[in-house]
Each structure stands twice: as structure tokens, then as C-alpha cells.
Symmetry: C2
Subunit: 412 residues, 2 copies
């Protein structure tokens, strides 16, 4: 009988574990955090889960957070600058946002309550061979403990050697809700601001994700020590919203605005990296990389959790359909997953660069043609299509022309 | 400089610790659970916090849960039976309900974030003398570890030797919200059902508190093993609501109804006990009993958390006003607290008995006269007044007469 070892209890590990469990395939999840440690940990990310992820959650019976004033069906996009432009578009299906500490802890509890095996321990690279003895296949879904380094980084798909954004992501009080709405503000040469409602340990909270271009005026807050002076941090964030996100700032109550608590802030940066999808271990068994281990992107396109879930299901389906977990199995599923995550990596990396003229043109047209605006925002729920739309100026141009776009206006 | 030791991090210990901290008095809280362990623990209680408690929370800056679809301003009271009667009344100020695991963890985090000292350890009765050496006064706000037994039980105020209700308290999905409303159903000879919205780890959840008279038809579910057969447990609860709480049952969706998870169920019973308020330790210092240690009641009147908070502030104010924590101090504050909790104990114990005729008359009148209904529900936010109203048939009678009540109808 097949027995899968899953190292890591993030979205990839949990969705794979729950998927296999539902189909009667034995799986053991190895994780360093108990649910309690997860609940009490630092904010690990700010995640909006899209319709396709939510559909998988419904099928797994872990859609515990529907309709908690934490969904959004409309995205408000702003391209800031001297002549700012903005547009709103309706997503095909509502996104949802839940504090991922609660999400991870509860899904792990679900896995256990349904009879799943969980081993609470740190796993380091040196432990992999021994653990693999217990399983037919190892799935590595966390990069901690040097596990990342087991899978060679692929330079041809990893164009950056350092983070292209400094992140300053947190949960905030004192922003009046804009029900069912999210904001994405692109500030040329500075970075981005994302804003949406989220279900967390207290009600009425807003998630704010700031991405600062290194060296820009947004960088200091991403390096600011909140604990050293919370009031100064909060004041700096209000000022930043005033300048760069006035539509969000208009909903700020300065008397109550602030980070909910020190633990609810995440600062740092991601070096986008694509790695090999599998390795052969000394005993002849295989380890597959899943989720962030396989490809970690800057969160600018919001695809990390959603693609972790999508690819966990691809892998889960392949496991259920196979009896041998050999080189051919690994090569096959590696390619299937790559077809999905390759475009996401390329799109995410492109978004970190100054926008190409055809992307700016897309946004200018979106501000005039609602169907174009809708197509723009729906890229966030259809990431493969997003990169089809954006990767080639001719494709974008043909699409815009089809919606009546006559080309960029000539300056007077 | 005064330094207070507080053993226990429930409502009493936390509110006292935060109160003293806000006023610059050194306090150390001893508790066996880290915030993470608290988050991941079993549901400890189902609590509605009243307006006076919420006011103290605002003053302490820990009112993190306002307006989370978890408040109620209207109480719907039903006296079930062959000729059921019901009435609704508006509370003076909205109650609020939050999962106390989240509440305890977050308030402890607040205490720490503000510079408070917390020692994570079990404390047993044998440790008290050593701990008291570090402090000017010990406040015992948890009964665990045999600490209860340090304070002699007062037989004259503790009429029961065993629980008068078996409790079956839990968090449930699949009950359509009745926004801003709570229910209290009194079923003669069987027990009580309480129902209200609550903020917990997921949205849209209802707290259901069932109190079963031993030997009654309600008892089996309070002893049922949920884990052995969750579906049977949920079916039994639906059936129970159908029979005894039809207004709640009307909002149940059988397809989704159920306990949220095994950890979200609390079964057991409380033997109401009043204990001495203070003891002298071997080294001549004193230990004061606070909250449930001083007086634990059946939760039927919903006063446990609220009186723990109220009396924590009484004690905090007394500590701030005193420089000596001797016999006179302890005797004085013990009496002040008793004036508040004595009536609550009497009211709570009276509610465990078959209702006296004047209480039934009060409810019959409330069903006809809205101002009487309002007075009835407001007893839950003014517990001392509640016992003034109910302790003497003459007082109740005079009140009802003043509202135009002509006496109980004579059966035809």
C-alpha cells in the first residue's frame, strides 16, 4: 500500500495530505509546529485565496471561513504617478482572506481529526534519507532546515540573485471596511500596495501588503523596527497611504489606526527561485519539491498559496493514479506542474520590472473599457492566461483592439 | 514598591494584571499555558461579556472584538412547557461573545507586550509559600493544582454537594444567525438552553450552552461521547433543539449543522462553592482568592466572567490605594467583593431550583408588559439588582403591580 511522506504543513503539504487522506492513500505530514505554535507564531504571509483554491477547499471540506466579511469580488487597481489612472473589475469568483496561522493550524487539526499521521519535528536535509525509508515517495513542501538546497536552483528560470522588493506586510486596525473590495496600487519606481479585508483573531481588520523597490522612498518602512517605536511606525504607514494610496487613506481613522500587534507584521524579502522538481535519494527513492520549494516568487501576483494548492492536487491525482514512484513518475509530474507554475514565475518576475509599454497600455485601456478592466483583474485568478496575455505585446494589442481600443493617445 | 503575584490568567487574573500594569503597580502573572497552548486548548467556557465588563475592557485597551457580528442587544426568553411563554427584551448595553481561548491568549499577549512579567509554570498548593516570598500579596485566581483547597469552603454559602446541571457547551455551524439576538430557554424540570453568536476561529458560528438537570431527558447528550460518533451527537442536538428550542431549531440547516470540532465542546458540571476570601501564609503574608476560586457558580446566570472582571477591579483599586497588605486589608476587600458576589451566588443557586411562583409570575407578566420584559433581561447585566428583585416575593410583586400587573390569571 502506498505511503507518502510530506515534509511541511503549509498550503502545499496540507492540501496534498488532505487530498490523499480523502482518497484513502496513507500520508504522514512532518512539521515543526503544533497547531498551538502555529496559532501563536508571527504572521507568515498575507494571502488572498482565489476561486479555484476555494473550490478545492470545498471538496476537501475545509472551507471554514466563508462569508466572514473576509471576501472580495471587486479589485480596484490604481497605476499611480503624475497622471494616476484607476479602474475596478469584478473577479469571476470571490477571493477570500484568512490569517494563515489560523488556516494552517485548523487544516492540520482537520488532518489529524480525520485520522492523519503527523510527526512534530524539525527535519533537516541530513534526515531525508532516513525518513524516505518509511515512505514510497517523499514530498518536500518546506524549504526550512536546508531542504531547499536539496533541489538545485535553475539559473535559467531564476533571473534574480536578491529580493526585488522589500516586504512590509501586516494586519491593521482603523481602516474602515470597503466590503467585498480589494485594492492594488502600483507606484512606478517605488513599489506596490495591496489591501483587503481578512479574517483573523479579531474582527474588522485589514491586511496591508507593501512591496518596496530597494532604494525607493518606500524602503524605509520595510526596514523600520516596529517594536522600537510603534507610534512612529503607524504614523509612517499613514503618511505612506496618504501619498501613495489616497483611496485607502480616505478610510483611515488616525485615532485608531495601527498594526494590531507586533506579531502581525512580516518584513523581509524573497529572492525568486525556481528549483529542480525532484531528486533521487541514496536509497533509490525519490523526493519531489512542491510549493515554494519548487518555485518561490515575489508575492506581487498573489499566486504562492493558490499555485501551491493547485499543484498539490496535480501531484495528488498523479500519486493516486500510480503504483511506482520512480524517475518516470517524477519527470512526468514535474512537467505537468511546470506547465502551470512556469508562466506564474515568468509573470511574477516580469511584474517586478518597470512595466513594459504594452502593459501600461493595457491599464490605460482598462480605465476606459470595463470589459478590459475585468480581463485585467481576472488575470489574478487565471495566472496561466495572465502570462499568455502579457508575455507578448502582439497578444495584448490584438485583445485591446478587439475591445475597441484605438491605441495610446498622442500627447497634445 | 508594591509587587503583586497573580496566579492564574483567566478573566480575574488578566483584568487585575492589566489594571495594575496600567497604574504602574508591578505584577507578575503565573500561568501554566502559553498563548499558543491557550489558542489550541479545549473550549473553556461559553461567555457573554456584559456592558460593565466591556467598559473595563475599553479602559484597559483590550476591546479587540467589537462589532464582529458577535454582539447581542436583545434577549429572547422562553419558559417552555405545555403552555410555553416567551418575550424579548433589550439589554441596556450590548453583550459581546468571543471564544475565551482567543480572549485569554490575546490579553496575556497584551500584558506581555506592555512589559508585564509572566511566569509560565504549573503552580501547586505546596509552591505558594515560596512564591509569596517574591511578592507583597498573592492573588489566587485559578483553582488548579489544589489551589482551591487553600481557601476553606463555606458550607453556609454552598448549599450543594454536587453539580445541579450537567453542561454541554459548544460551538456550532449551520445555525442561521439571528443578528444581535441571544436566546435563553428555560425548560421546567429539564434544564436550560442558551444560544448566541460568538467570534471564534471561524465566522458564522453560534455558541450553544445546554444545562441538563441530572436525571432529566437532557442529561444523555451532556454525557455523550462526541468523538465516538460525531453524526449521532449532532443529530441528538438537532432533535433536542427541535423539541425544546423550536425558535433556534427553525434556523438550523440540517445539512451543515454540527459542532465545529471536537475541541469546541465542553462537557462537565460545576459544584457551586463559596470559599473564604483570604488566608494567612506561613511567612505572615496573605493570599487572596479571586474569581472562581472565591465563588464558583453554575453558569446559568452568566455571571462568572463578568463578576471576575468586576471584582478584579475592586481588588485592583484597593491595592492601588493601600501600602500594607495585611489582615485588615484582606478583610476589607473580602467584604467589598462579597457584597457583589454574594447576591450572584444566591441568584445562581436559586435558578438551579424549580422556579418559585413569584418568578414564574414575573415571566408571565414579562410576556405581557414590555417594560417588565426589559427589566427581566437587564437582570443579566445588573446581577445585584437581579437578586434584590427576585429574592423576595413582595419586592417582585410590588414591581409587577407598579407596571399594571393584576396578578396571575385564574384557570378557567
Amino acid at each position: 500500500m502506498t505511503h507518502i511522506g510530506i515534509i511541511g504543513a503549509g498550503v502545499a503539504g496540507l492540501h496534498l495530505g488532505l487530498f490523499l487522506q480523502q482518497r484513502g492513500v496513507e500520508a504522514t505530514i512532518y512539521t515543526e509546529k503544533t497547531p498551538g505554535e502555529q496559532f501563536a507564531s508571527r504572521l507568515p504571509a498575507l494571502v488572498g485565496r482565489s476561486g479555484h483554491t476555494r473550490e478545492r477547499e470545498r471538496l476537501l471540506g475545509v472551507n471554514h471561513w466563508d462569508a466572514g466579511s473576509n471576501e472580495f469580488g471587486t479589485m480596484n487597481i490604481v497605476l499611480a504617478g503624475e497622471q494616476p489612472l484607476g479602474f475596478a473589475g469584478n473577479l469571476e469568483r470571490r477571493f477570500i482572506a484568512v490569517d494563515m496561522r489560523i488556516y494552517f493550524a485548523r487544516l492540520l487539526e482537520d488532518f489529524v481529526a480525520r485520522g492523519g499521521n503527523v510527526v512534530f519535528r524539525d527535519v533537516h536535509a541530513a534526515d531525508i534519507d532516513a525518513i524516505s525509508e518509511q515512505h514510497d515517495l517523499l514530498v518536500v513542501a518546506t524549504g526550512r532546515g536546508g531542504l531547499n538546497a536539496l533541489f538545485p536552483r535553475l539559473a535559467e528560470h531564476s533571473p534574480f540573485d536578491a529580493p526585488q522588493r522589500y516586504l512590509c506586510t501586516g494586519l491593521y486596525r482603523g481602516i474602515a471596511p470597503n466590503p467585498d473590495n480589494a485594492s492594488a496600487i502600483f507606484v512606478p519606481e517605488q513599489g506596490e500596495v495591496f489591501e483587503f479585508p481578512i479574517y483573523t483573531f479579531e474582527p474588522g481588520i485589514t491586511g496591508l501588503g507593501l512591496e518596496a523597490v530597494p532604494g525607493s522612498a518606500l524602503e524605509p518602512i520595510a526596514r523600520m523596527n516596529y517594536d522600537a517605536d510603534p507610534a512612529a511606525f503607524n504614523a509612517a504607514m499613514i503618511e505612506l497611504l496618504r501619498v501613495h494610496a489616497p483611496a485607502v487613506h480616505a478610510r483611515v481613522d488616525p485615532a485608531t489606526f495601527g498594526l494590531t500587534r507586533s506579531l502581525d507584521l512580516l518584513q523581509g524579502g524573497v529572492t525568486p527561485s525556481v528549483r529542480s522538481g525532484h531528486i533521487r535519494l541514496a536509497n533509490g527513492k525519490y523526493a519531489l519539491a512542491l510549493g515554494d520549494v519548487r518555485a518561490i516568487n515575489d508575492p506581487i501576483t498573489g499566486q504562492g498559496a493558490n499555485s501551491a494548492s493547485a499543484t498539490a492536487w496535480m501531484l495528488g491525482a498523479a500519486i493516486c493514479a500510480s503504483e511506482r514512484f520512480d524517475e518516470a513518475f517524477c519527470t512526468g509530474i514535474e512537467q505537468i506542474i511546470w506547465d502551470y507554475i512556469g508562466p506564474i514565475a515568468q509573470w511574477s518576475n516580469a511584474m517586478l520590472q518597470p512595466p513594459a509599454p504594452h502593459v501600461v497600455e493595457f491599464m490605460v485601456a482598462a480605465a476606459q473599457f470595463p470589459p478590459v478592466a475585468e480581463t485585467f483583474v481576472r488575470m489574478f485568478e487565471q495566472p496561466v492566461r495572465a502570462w499568455e496575455m502579457l508575455s507578448c505585446p502582439n497578444t495584448t494589442g490584438a485583445f485591446l483592439k478587439g475591445h475597441g481600443w484605438k491605441g495610446m493617445p498622442v500627447a497634445a
